[in-house]
Amino acid sequence: MKLRRWLADRWVMGVALLVLLYLSLPIIVVAGLSFNRPSSRLSYDFHEFTLDNWTHPFPTLEMRDAVIRSIEIGLIATVISTVLGTLMAFALVRHGFRGRAGINGLIFLPMATPELVMGTSLLALFVAAQIPLGFWTIVIAHVMFCVSFVVVTVKARLAGMDRRLEEAAMDLYANEWQTFRRITLPLVLPGIVAAALLAFSLSFDDFIITNFNSGTTVTFPMYVWGAAGKGIPPQVNVIGTAMFVIALAVVGASSLQGRRARRAALAAPVAAVGAPKSAS
């Protein structure tokens, strides 16, 4: 019986690890290809080791501009969507109001609608309203699909917050602004930061919606798409690997930060209890 359970445990974990390998294979290949000198422009096979791609990450001005533009659009869309989404999350968690079901639906639907439909419908609107496509139509589109994710992320953090901390602050004669500034905001901040990071990564990587609303403006995914037919420069894999490493570092740092904060939270009461003891 024990042996069988042991085998059953290993069997599941074995399959799980194989599936994880399938999920990680492309990243390994992308990292490997970032050190590749391809034999020809249209070849995607590993040919020869080189560091050139990393020392010269931008083979053309077009690619450099595309990466910079994606970062710009990502930052602007992140700021706008984080502000709008955070305000909505506060209203949803902290306030009663009429039409809650309608607002919830308005926030949920963009996450359930195929990107393709959001992209084409926004294009139909911009064309009908004769708004020229370009940088700002991309920003508008990105804010639109990021807002819902921000609301959901911040809402989760707000809902899990202990209201008594704010009540305690008010009892200690903090006014509403002071309570918000000194208690509420610091407690919600990790949720807001997580939402902003999510919004940036969604914006930076979006292709389908951008494709319909970019006109002649080229973002990094648009550049990769356009180059796919003509042959992808190996430097694209450098950007892909760099994105991966940066994202991993952010996740690692935040989990370390979280662990430290938890340890500090555990230590604080101990210190408080310990203090009078050492005094007496």
Partner: protein, 303 residues
């Protein structure tokens, strides 16, 4: 009594609010909601109406001369007649990919939730790690993995699973593999969330009552993880059906899905009425399947 009430509530002020704070901030929630809701109304809801209108434009118009609104409902049957193979292929490919993803994702989610111990968080990061890099770049990586000179094709040819000229790239297999890969994390995460809450003592109880592991899985694990299965299925199926990146990069026009057709209708052929009609057909078909599925699965609370 009424007169008295009138007297005690001076002009405009509502009768004693439940708490003074609430009273002063009656408008606050609406102000907080206004910018975000307005953005979503103008740039999400309104465009859907515009798309519906565009799908009924006179099909003989053009972007240059402008479209006339003629309530041309005939655009729908016309588009369906011309492109039903691509529409059917979209649902066929994503359905096969969904089955593969469930077969792979369930053991993965179960392993992480129940067996991984202190490695749990690390393995979870590994599940979402593919999403840390660009969707297009990692899909292109499959081009390298499945290439005719690659080791995968070489191995399959050596063991005669593939003929000497057989290939993987530019086949339905490659497209389905890409779809499965790209959307698998969306299926695994909600599945993990529901399996993580599964109390292992329930399985012990089942085994104490002489249930075989298979039967315990059928009767305990699977039913309790159904909310996760349903949420994961929807999160996988909706984007996979609308995707056309995998078909474009890993397939050929023979593998084109409805997204490829819509993309070319709007951006190459500039046939807005047809593109709009196809977009709506796609959305209607997805909604019909989602609601049919939810009704059958019997859990309305997921939405």
């Amino acid at each position: 009594m009424t007169a008295l009430a009138h007297v005690s509530t001076p002009a405009g002020e509502p009768a004693a609010p439940p708490t003074p704070r609430r009273g002063r901030h009656r408008l606050l929630p609406y102000l907080l909601l206004l910018p975000g809701a307005a953005w979503l109304l103008v740039f999400f809801a309104l465009p859907l109406l515009q798309l519906a209108a565009a799908s009924l434009y006179d099909p003989s118009g053009s972007l240059a001369t402008g479209y006339a609104m003629t309530w041309a409902f005939g655009n729908y049957p016309a588009a369906l007649e011309q492109y039903w193979p691509q529409l059917a292929r979209s649902f066929g490919y994503s359905a096969i990919a969904l089955v593969l993803a469930l077969l792979m994702g369930y053991p993965l989610a179960y392993g992480i939730a129940q067996k991984a111990g202190r490695w749990k968080n690390l393995l979870l990061v590994a599940v979402v790690a593919p999403m840390f890099t660009s969707f297009l770049v990692r899909t292109l990586a499959w081009k390298t993995i499945l290439s005719d000179n690659g080791w995968v094709v070489g191995l399959l040819r050596d063991v005669h699973l593939l003929g000497p000229d057989g290939r993987l790239l530019a086949t339905p297999f490659a497209v389905i593999l890409g779809l499965t890969y790209n959307f698998l994390p969306f299926l695994v995460l909600p599945l993990y969330a529901s399996l993580e809450r599964l109390d292992p003592r329930l399985l012990e109880a089942a085994s104490d009552l002489y249930a075989s592991p298979l039967r315990a899985f059928q009767k305990v694990t699977l039913p309790l993880s159904m909310p996760g299965v349903i949420a994961g299925t929807l999160l996988f199926f909706i984007p996979a059906t609308g995707d056309y990146i995998n078909a474009e990069l890993l397939g050929t026009p023979n593998e084109y899905m409805i997204g490829n057709v819509i993309d070319s209708a709007f951006l190459v052929r500039l046939d807005y009425p047809q593109g709009a009609a196809l977009s709506f057909l796609l959305m209607a078909a997805i909604l019909a399947i989602v609601f049919g599925y939810l009704r059958k699965a019997g859990t309305e609370e997921v939405l």
